[in-house]
């Protein structure tokens, strides 16, 4: 063995760096030699290494655990900010934040998603809302003579009136491209306040209603404080009526028709698009 050249004394920091393999190779060897003559320090080093081994033994199994649902969900990209901004600008100039939007490319007619913690709408509030929209649809669309309170010939008055009563600007989406003409609208009592209903009609006489309520305000507003609160489109079926509904900020929207889910989903996307384009 060649005599060990004089090397600088080993510091406490170096001792740890030695344990962690963070020393340059040459210094690593010097520390090793230094430890050979110091049993007390050698014991410490051994104990620190044992700590590392045991910590890995204790916690490495976590690496292989399946991810819990909520963590998986949080790792997924939220809806882009611009969609949220558009939605916020919607019908509701007076509102601050709005919940995010979850189109998610999944509007394919299948049941979209079940209630999740990230949604702005609780399952119970949502199904009550959808049920009321379906009943309103059934009651008024069956009325051949007076399906609406104010007809489309007076659309401007209708919109002004509903906006005033709803205390927020309302708009009747244009759905001619999808084969539906505006028939008119009316004001209805909802669970906690007024509800606006717009009615449309296709060439075959089939009716479609858009039900707009701010009674979900607390659910919507409460969730919109959460940066990643999402609003998903949902389906409900009430008798023969399909309901396609979503919540955005303080507003809930429900489209109801005898139409199939896919047709309704297309209309829903169009309604969403138009409302989002509103200044």
């Amino acid at each position: 063995m060649t005599p060990i050249p004089p090397s600088p004394p080993v510091t406490e920091d170096e001792l740890h760096a030695y344990v962690d393999g963070q020393l340059p190779a040459e210094r690593q060897r010097e520390v090793e030699a230094w430890l050979a003559g110091r049993p007390e320090e050698a014991r410490r080093v051994a104990a620190y290494r044992a700590q590392k081994r045991e910590l890995h033994a204790l916690f490495d199994p976590v690496l292989d655990e399946p991810l819990p649902q909520r963590v998986r969900q949080a790792a997924r990209a939220p809806v882009p900010w611009y969609a949220r901004r558009l939605a916020a600008g919607l019908v509701l100039a007076l509102l601050g934040g709005a919940a995010g939007w979850g189109l998610r490319g999944a509007v394919d007619g299948a049941a979209l998603h079940g209630p999740t913690s990230g949604d702005g709408l609780t399952a119970a509030a949502g199904s009550g809302f959808a049920a009321r929209a379906a009943v309103a649809h059934t009651v008024y669309s069956a009325d051949a003579r007076r399906p609406v309170e104010v007809d489309a010939a007076h659309e401007e008055q209708l919109v002004a009136w509903l906006s005033k009563r709803m205390a927020a600007p309302m708009h009747a989406p244009r759905l001619q491209a999808l084969g539906y003409a505006l028939e008119g609208g009316r004001l209805l009592p909802g669970g906690r306040g007024p509800v606006a209903q717009f009615m449309y009609r296709d060439a075959a006489g089939g009716r479609l209603t858009l039900y707009v309520s701010n009674e979900l305000g607390e659910a919507g507003a409460g969730r919109s404080a959460t940066p990643n609160a999402e609003t998903a489109f949902r389906f409900a079926r009430e008798g023969a009526v399909n309901v396609f509904y979503w919540v955005d900020g303080p507003f809930g929207y429900a489209l109801a028709a005898d139409a199939g889910r896919e047709a309704l989903a297309r209309i829903g996307e169009e309604v969403y698009r138009q409302l989002a384009e509103r200044p």
């Binding site: 910590l55 976590v62 655990e65 990643n228």
Partner: protein, 171 residues
């Protein structure tokens, strides 16, 4: 999506670190969940992040510090879809591992963080400093104190039930 994949690759390691830090599964996954949400809310910054790991663990560190300061309501997640940690060491090891967990829980949070980032994440000291936003000298002194304290606890030199540590000005 690319960002999602990138983020997902870090999730198991965030969970491992959080589990060691928080000491139980629910609190740990709360921390992970909050970290991911915070990361997404700052997704615009990702492109400028050179060291994704330091960035993510740094977010977790900040949330942990905030959470530790705030008294919180104990909640249990209704996550019935995953069984409790399949940590199943041999019978004789089990006691030792539980001791380690108990000893770890008795370390001051700041020592525990440094020790875990070094021991579990194999982080370079400079990265630990960046992650926690402290000077490297502080990293080294916390590492040294944390390791020595843990050793004392595991060797039974520090009674686990002691309520007050009178001697220590420099824990």
């Amino acid at each position: 999506m690319r960002d999602e994949q990138l983020l997902l690759t870090w999730v198991p390691r965030l969970r491992r670190y959080a589990r060691a830090l928080a000491g139980n599964r629910d609190d740990a996954d709360d921390l992970v969940q909050d970290t991911l949400l915070r990361a997404w809310s700052r997704a615009a910054l990702w492109r400028g992040v050179a060291d994704m790991r330091a960035w993510l663990f740094g977010i977790m560190h900040n949330l942990h510090v905030d959470g530790a300061r705030r008294p919180r309501l104990a909640t249990v997640a209704l996550d019935a879809d995953v069984p409790e940690a399949p940590v199943a060491p041999a019978q004789d090891e089990r006691l030792a591992l539980r001791d380690l967990q108990a000893a770890l829980d008795r370390l001051p949070a700041e020592q525990k963080e440094v020790l875990l980032l070094v021991a579990l994440e194999d982080m370079a000291y400079a990265d630990v400093a960046r992650t926690l936003g402290i000077p490297i000298g502080t990293v080294m002194s916390r590492l040294s104190r944390g390791r020595e304290r843990l050793r004392a606890l595991l060797e039974g030199r520090e009674a686990p039930q002691r309520l007050q540590v009178v001697r220590s000005r420099t824990p």
